[in-house]
Amino acid sequence: MNGSSPEPSATGADPGGPGAAAQLAELLREQLPGARDVGVEQVEQVFGGNARQALAGTATWTEPSARRRREPVIMLSRAPGSQVQADPEREYAVLRALSETSVRAPRVFAADRDGAVTGTSSIVLQRMPGRADPVAFLRSRDRARARELTADLARAAAELHAVDVHRDVPGLTERLGGVVSEDGNIDPQSTVAAQIEYWQSVFLGCRLEPLPVLAGLFDWLLDNVPAPARVALVHGDLRPGNFLYEDARLVSLLDWEMVHVGDPAEDLAWIFRPLWSPQRFLDLGSFVRRYEEAGGAPVDRAALLYHRVFAEAKFAAISIRAARAFADGTTTNLRLADRAATVTTSLALALDLAAEWESLPKGALC
């Protein structure tokens, strides 16, 4: 599902340095249609997560209509040894397409697909208001407000999953991992299977030891792929920390580098991984009800359970890739050094969830 992108150096570029602001301005000058007098001011390096480096600033330019524009922007650049293989061109195309929909996503201004300007693959987005702090949200003492924000997350997920992949994101179906059958329609089951196979390949390519339990879990996932009634645009990393919020309102979904076509239940399962689950404000069942009330397609409970198994296997694969990047010296991020130690926690839960799925009445497995 992911294309290749240029590998940044292990020591990293200098995203906060004086050259970075000029690079950001150059990128905007190249790609804003008809823009003149492009400048970027108030540039500062901000936290962009483990996978990307972020540079924030205020861009100014004159449009062809002579109107002067002033926009807060953020440039996200792939961090060395990132545990997420981003395809900025795909992310750019999706965000451009989503700007025509009601999905809560930032506008996109430019992308440096091959790192020709910035030295590594980068994307320039509208900088939205709000905060992304997952700890502040998950430890909130204002449970009523946190509950309302969690319900708004359910609504935002329903809005995203309402996107018609063929109509709203034209020409990107296969690039987003959708498997198209001979009749031109997306084959839902094969599309879900392709996603499992992708993460299985990540695991097999990065593991430092055989890990037969995880190997067995991926086999189990492939042997029991659900056939969703429809596939949708799936964020792929939808969770606290990857959306901006103000009070009880979700402002924008962030970090679209794992966006793909898949089973909407995949996003719902990912939101409720124990590490970042908003369970204490709204349990999964109530969250799903809110999601369905907001227009989300009815959620098959067996499929949701299946995707909770997948979420743990995927997180384990991401952790193994992160640990491998540190072991190989392609990242200096100490947060990734010990990620392999988290794998057993994911596996223990995945085995429990798979056993729960196996115990479901066969009629529930549809």
Binding site: E209, P212, L334, R335, D338, A341, T344, A348
Partner: protein, 174 residues
């Protein structure tokens, strides 16, 4: 000479870094790096001396379960199982020293005993993964033969994960 132990040293380093260095660092990448290092030091302090006991128990369980599983398969089952049996017997009996030394050096292990345990564990994991793959693709194996072996493997999976979590000091992370 026993004291201070590695655990005592790790704890002391953690206390000093957390008490003296962390407060001096402003928000930013160096502070995040130190916090990650402190988190890692705490986990190592909890688990630094568990590795040998863990691997001994793990190897014993892997070997016993693989032995039972391979014996439970009918004699007329595919030749792939016989090859797995041969590999298994070789690992259980004795691995060539050069294999042990090579993999241990790569993993930064100095103690020859621990290096042996690690190499055996890796080899047994490999045989288990290959047995799982063989069972998954075997369309001729009757369910009466497959079911007990699958059950043995499932039980082993749970024990492997539980033991690895305890050895890594992460078993109560959920």
């Amino acid at each position: 000479m026993l004291r201070p132990t590695t655990g005592e040293l790790l704890r002391a380093v953690h206390i000093q870094l957390a008490g003296q260095v962390l407060p001096a660092l402003a928000d930013g990448a160096p502070r995040r790096q130190l916090k990650s290092a402190l988190h890692l030091l705490r986990r190592l302090e909890r688990s630094w001396d568990l590795q040998a006991t863990y691997l001994e128990a793990d190897n014993l369980d892997l070997a016993e379960t693989l032995d039972r599983a391979l014996r439970a398969l009918p004699a007329e089952a595919g030749t792939g199982y016989a090859r797995l049996r041969t590999r298994f017997d070789r690992v259980r009996n004795r691995l060539p020293e050069r294999e042990i030394a090579g993999s241990a050096a790569e993993a930064g292990v100095h103690d020859p005993g621990l290096a042996h345990l690690m190499t055996v564990n890796h080899a047994l994991q490999e045989i288990l993964a290959d047995l799982q793959a063989a069972l998954r693709h075997d369309r001729d194996l009757p369910s009466t033969a497959l079911s007990p072996v699958t059950s043995m493997v499932s039980g082993l999976h749970r024990r492997l994960v539980a033991r690895a979590g305890e050895a890594a000091g992460t078993h109560d992370d959920n």
